[in-house]
């Protein structure tokens, strides 16, 4: 009886110690989450309904005034209209990049000649700082390419970023060109998880690589593909299209994206500008959340069945 009592008191002590350990080690991360996630987002929500008063140095409630400004600006301000166009255009091209990355991953999965080298090269832009890549790319397309063109054709050529007709295309090309790395790794990682016996069986049945890719590989890694396509939807509202790397705060209005607009405004505005940006963020979140969920649902529904 005494032994049982001792055992039970030992268990209680251990449970109490476990609970203390649990609380002590979770206290800081949970507090951090409460302040920097819940607090920040809740504050952002409140900020959207306020305005800064210079005379008192405080934020006052202004109701939906900031939202009215946001919607007015969407209708009348050129760079916001351009942001819609460019962000959607970028989404379209990054989605195409996703599919290209899928094929590249397939080549690496099949361990074709040079696949190790190609894997490294596709990942290299993720290792080198974006600002360094952009500085090199910028001078390359502004100086080296026009020089080569002039040498070959004898005609003068404007730099691809200086020329208004080519600058948007050049920047989108840059984003796609440097955007394969992570997706390639994830896709080839997912492909390497496919059982070899499935692929070997298909091969014995005479499946060509095209058939193997579309009938076996793609359906089996479809959940990974969906994840990337869904993440890219959120990118519509956050992707800066590397504009800050290319132009700092001085990009042309016709190049703006939402991500660039929000970042540069925070960089350049003082605290009086924060409520407007918070309202803009709230409006964009209100679009982004349902859009993400809808696209996720649609992709899961229309995907290939295994």
């Amino acid at each position: 009886m005494l032994n049982t009592k001792n055992k039970s008191s030992g268990m209680n002590k251990r449970n109490r110690n476990r609970l203390i350990f649990y609380c002590v080690f979770l206290a800081f991360p949970v507090l951090q989450f409460c302040i920097f996630y819940i607090g920040v987002n809740f504050n952002s929500f409140l900020l959207a309904f306020k305005s800064y008063d210079y005379s008192t140095g405080l934020y006052d409630w202004v109701g939906f005034l900031n939202f009215k400004r946001v919607f007015y600006d969407f209708e009348h301000v050129q760079y916001l209209q351009m942001s819609i166009r460019n962000s959607l255009l970028l989404y379209l091209f990054t989605t195409l990049t996703s599919f290209l990355a899928l094929f590249f991953s397939y080549y690496i999965y099949k361990r074709g000649p040079g696949s190790k080298l190609f894997q490294t090269m596709l990942f290299l832009p993720n290792i080198i700082s974006a600002i360094v890549m952009v500085v090199i790319f910028k001078y390359f397309v502004e100086r080296a390419i026009p020089f080569v063109w002039e040498e070959i054709t004898g005609q003068e050529m404007e730099g691809l970023l200086s020329n208004l007709k080519t600058q948007l295309g050049t920047i989108i090309f840059y984003c796609c060109w440097t955007g394969f790395g992570v997706q390639m790794l994830m896709y080839s990682g997912a492909m390497s998880g496919i059982s070899d016996s499935v692929v070997e069986a298909a091969k014995l049945d005479g499946a060509t690589p095209v058939r193997e890719f579309f009938s076996i590989i793609f359906p089996l890694i479809y959940p990974t593909v969906v994840t990337f396509l869904v993440v890219e939807v959120a990118g519509i509202f956050t992707n800066q299209m590397n504009l800050f790397n290319f132009y700092g705060t001085k990009a042309e209005y016709n190049l703006y994206t939402f991500g660039y607009f929000l970042y540069t405004k925070i960089k350049t505005e003082n605290i009086s500008g924060y409520p407007y940006l918070a309202a803009m963020g709230l409006v964009l979140t209100a679009v982004a959340v349902p859009l993400t969920l809808i696209i996720r649902k649609v992709l899961n529904k229309v995907g290939p069945k295994i």
Binding site: S129, T224, T227
Partner: protein, 304 residues
């Protein structure tokens, strides 16, 4: 979580049309990537006068006569001019930028890896209801995109008095959310209870079991995640630009250099030299840990 992929290499003679097309595209891609990088390296080894007449070619003369002095000049004269209430108007040189980069990247990477690791361990091993809540919070915050809350974050860090401080930035980074929490969670769930139970029988406490018994088992994954974060923070300049304006990092410096027009470094060869200097450490790290980085990452997990 071993890699099950064991397919043989595909030989040139056995490649179908699809793989041939992909080979050609990947070859062109590799060339398109190497060309500008090589051009950047060669340009960094030219004088400005030489660059004016020789934009594309390799530097003239023997390699030992190339403008290696550009790198020395950049190291001696590369600075960022900052103005802050605390420091006044000062120039930050490359040594200090390197120190800031190390503090920002190493410190940030360590904290940003340690916190998800600890929280994942606790929530995976302790079956309290709150553990389930934390797991759900991570999933929900990953699925739902919140846009444009940086203004609010900026206001908050200013009010908390941690704006423009390195330790404040570490606190900002001490969050457990994101993919790597799930990576650690899955790993801890996969570790059998026997390891910890044996230690409990020997009288070990919870902290001892976590730090001395379980964490050494996941050091490989911890290292990989920290390396990924380190590279990301080393290259990041937009966060320091917003939250640490008085602590310019090397990437921040390159950004400033790429925009400046008021010093001797405002030439293409000098800018390229600064870019090459910035990239060297990270390329060396990549070369050393390439296999670990490239083979250890997969969606929702890090392979052992």
């Amino acid at each position: 979580m071993k890699n099950t992929h064991n397919l043989k290499k595909t030989r040139l003679s056995k490649m179908g049309a699809l793989l041939w097309v992909l080979l050609v595209i990947l070859f062109l891609y590799t060339v398109s990537l190497i060309l500008p990088l090589l051009w950047g390296i060669f340009t960094s080894l030219k004088t400005q006068n030489e660059f004016r007449v020789n934009i594309l070619g390799i530097p003239e003369g023997a390699p030992w006569n190339w403008a290696w002095g550009n790198f020395v000049y950049v190291m001696q004269n590369f600075y960022v001019h900052i103005t802050s209430a605390e420091l006044g108007s000062v120039d930050i040189g490359i040594e200090e930028m390197l120190l800031n980069t190390i503090l920002y990247a190493v410190g940030g990477a360590f904290i940003n890896t340690l916190v998800p690791c600890v929280v994942a361990y606790i929530t995976a091993k302790f079956n309290y209801k709150f553990s389930g809540v934390i797991y759900m919070v991570v999933i929900v915050t990953m699925v739902l995109p919140v846009v444009g809350n940086t203004a609010s974050e900026m206001q908050l860090v200013k009010e908390l008095g941690i704006y423009d401080t390195i330790w404040g930035n570490w606190i900002q980074k001490a969050n457990f959310m994101g993919m790597y929490y799930l990576v650690f969670y899955a790993t801890f769930k996969g570790i059998p209870k026997d390891f910890s139970e044996a230690a409990y029988v020997d009288g070990a406490g919870e902290t001892h079991v976590m730090i001395r018994i379980i964490f050494p088992l996941v050091m490989n994954i911890f290292g990989t995640v920290m390396l990924i974060k380190f590279i990301s923070f080393w290259n990041d300049y937009q966060t320091p630009l917003l939250f640490l304006p008085s602590y310019p990092t090397l990437a921040y410096g390159i950004y400033t250099l790429s925009r400046s027009s008021d010093n001797d470094l405002n030439t293409v060869p000098m800018r390229m030299a600064a870019c090459v200097l910035m990239v060297i450490p990270i390329v060396i790290i990549f070369a050393i840990f390439k296999e670990k980085l490239m083979s250890n990452i997969s969606m929702g997990g890090v392979k052992e």
